[in-house]
Symmetry: C2
């Protein structure tokens, strides 16, 4: 009967005390970053504890009590829901479960690493964090975390998105952040691009370059990244670790795990503790990354590449479309990034991660997001609608085959501030 | 130490099994509704189980398992948070706690009665629910609940608000509801008003009249009200009942309880189980309703009055400004209603409820909402910012007096879909 619970949650006292670091459990060693000049600059521009975690050999990294308190204040642990209504609507024998990262104060999983990074930055005496944002989820999360922790925040936001996500911009301002459309005239790299084209739509790679340059020129500022890097995936492992405890509570275990993937932070956070089970405990799970054909980086090539446009970052070995790759605009903007996190890229190269990419017009994906909203009640972020579409596709395969698979997917954020996207794609008035 | 927990929650299994009905515990009997003609029509237009609950003498009303399942699916129980960061920012010796009704799928407490009403309506064979909405919180909640339960939904939405809350309108449409700006040309009462003024801004009282007329003319439809009535307060008691269990967990008890009040559903749901403690267990609590000077109904007169504009409802004994009272527009639109729930009105008349009203320009209230967002991280609905402003005022009084009061307030909804209000009032770009 326990399996028919609609909502499964651990108690606030049982929230995990350590994050999981998969580095020591990987099937082959993770290729290190490259670029002497860039690597030399990192300690000046980055949070030192994060830099340390980036190459930590420790499987478990203790979550400082201060950060656990911040997680509680942000409403963790977050429930795991059984999607009984959606199952019924689909007529599938599969059992569907979704994790509710949309319950975050800013509406996305990004707060899990934003709070950790802001905490560590304050501990080392830093006064300001700079960052980039694409969809705006990360910029909002860092604006929130710095406000809670007591730091200043400067956000460089891809102009094409900055312009249509007015509510999200206002929320960052309420948190007290300075928000710039990128490319901006605040940095040398931005000035060059704006000079050529004042309405330059920008890209995540350009915005990263601006954030890095801004931090480099201010000794009291450090740069904070919301995806791709190992320490970000470590912090996000809280999602999957909670999910493991929740599945234990109901004596259930996933056969398939799905989430959307841009840079890889929500996908990684959700699945990596379970990848650990596969690597060390002989478990079998199919992992699927839901992407957009606008930026199917897991279908790119596995090679060393820069994380930003201006080559300020070291080169990372990752699946990439190239750091100057031009991507068409989509509403699920958080999925528009040229490269995938090195850890996930390695796992993909070793055959552990499958991927699917959905068409750029997004009609199919948004219709599935609508079906989820109508049956389960929660409005997903455009990006999370990709997770949902993929989970529905897998549930429909089970309908054909008759398999009673357990399918778990992550709903990484809510769509309340991205309603314009639903309006345009679904043709609402 | 337990008192310093930032997040307090009961387990999903401990969610209350009965709602609380204060009728048998009131200090004097509740004056019954008046109006033979209107009362005769009620069984045709209203949900029968709700009509029964309206005058039930039972202190405890069992929550059917089907509705408890719906509550779980909607993410109940909702955490009680200790506002440690806000306390610190204020420098108050008071201990502040807030209930997180903003965690609802549609972003407000309204789902608590919407799910119950939709469930009962389906059980009695009804196919469609009609309703009014002012701020849009109720319309969204009923659109959600009918979608989950499998009914149709028609919403009449006060035109002045319909026009600026575009995202909320789209969300109702995603849930499959038909949404009309009110007054509309779908009803006789609406036609009359639109004929005189096609851009008539509407009012909640007019929208109620339209919803009632629409239900009256369709044997398969019933009308559903989101506030004011006794059965609505019964369903909303789930908020206060959970809060009681959460305070018990940390061995704490409130000295002051605060929430915003329009018709009274979130205020009533939050405080009424505690009023029961005061009436039957000798507890002492100060209850404060936070209102707008645009509609300070608790400062009106205590008399029989209609709940709607066209006199289709019975007359209720309540604090009222008069059913044709014209109110200036405010962003906290959910507080714009001419009358207060009869139960709360009686308690006010008996001296149990205090009230405060904030200026129509809303600057003070929105600034306090901003402070809450910057310290606690959650963006409140404009209406909920009134609860917050009042809680901060009380916390500041404690700072002056040195009293370590326990102040509990309800954050009835989130503001993600009402950002235009913050933008205008706070002067954001």
């Amino acid at each position: 009967m326990k399996k028919n619970l609609r909502e499964i949650n651990i108690s606030t006292e049982d929230i995990p005390t350590s994050w999981y670091n998969i580095l020591p459990d990987l099937p082959t060693p993770l290729p290190p970053p490259k670029g002497d000049e860039q690597l030399k600059l990192l300690p000046e521009m980055m949070i030192l504890e994060c830099l340390k975690q980036e190459s930590s050999p420790d499987r478990w990294i203790e979550i400082p009590d201060g950060i656990r308190q911040l997680y509680l204040q942000a409403g963790r642990p977050r429930p795991l829901f059984r999607a009984l209504n959606l199952e019924k609507a689909l007529g599938t024998p599969a059992r569907l479960y979704y994790k509710s990262e949309f319950y975050s104060p800013t509406g996305s999983h990004k707060v899990n690493t934003a709070l950790a990074q802001a905490y560590y930055a304050r501990e080392q005496g830093c006064e300001r964090l700079t960052t980039e944002t694409g969809a705006g989820q990360w910029g909002t999360a860092l604006a929130y975390a710095t406000s809670i922790v007591g730091l200043k925040c400067t956000v460089f936001w891809v102009r094409a998105v900055y312009q249509w996500k007015h509510s999200r911009r206002n929320l960052m301002q309420i948190y007290g952040a300075e928000v710039n459309a990128s490319p901006s005239d605040k940095t040398e790299v931005g000035k060059l691009l704006v000079k050529d084209n004042p309405d330059h739509p920008g890209s995540l790679a350009i915005a990263i370059s601006e954030g890095l340059e801004d931090a480099k020129n201010d000794p009291k500022a450090v740069y904070s990244l919301g995806s791709v890097l190992n320490h970000v995936l470590i912090h996000q492992s809280i999602i999957g670790l909670e999910t493991q405890l929740q599945f234990e509570m109901i004596d259930e275990y996933p056969d398939v795990m799905i989430s959307c993937l841009g840079g890889g932070s929500n996908f990684g956070g959700f699945v990596i503790p379970f990848v650990g089970d596969v690597l060390t405990k002989g478990k079998k799970i199919q992992f699927i990354a839901a992407q957009s054909e606008a930026a199917p980086n897991l279908q790119g090539t596995y090679r060393y590449n820069f994380a930003d446009y201006a080559k300020l970052t070291p080169q990372l070995k990752m699946y990439t479309l190239g750091h100057m790759f031009e991507m068409p605009p989509i509403r699920g903007d958080g999925l528009r990034y040229h490269g995938c996190a090195p850890i996930i890229s390695l796992l993909r190269d070793e055959g552990y991660i499958d991927t699917v990419a959905y068409p750029v017009d997004e009609k199919y994906v948004f219709e599935k997001g609508k079906l989820f909203t109508q049956t389960e009640g929660f409005l997903p972020a455009p990006e999370s609608a990709y997770s949902i579409a993929c989970a529905i596709d897998e549930a429909n395969k089970c309908k054909e085959s008759g398999e009673e698979k357990v399918i778990a997917f992550n709903v990484s954020g809510h769509g309340f501030m991205d309603m314009v996207g639903f309006r345009k794609v679904l043709g609402l008035e």
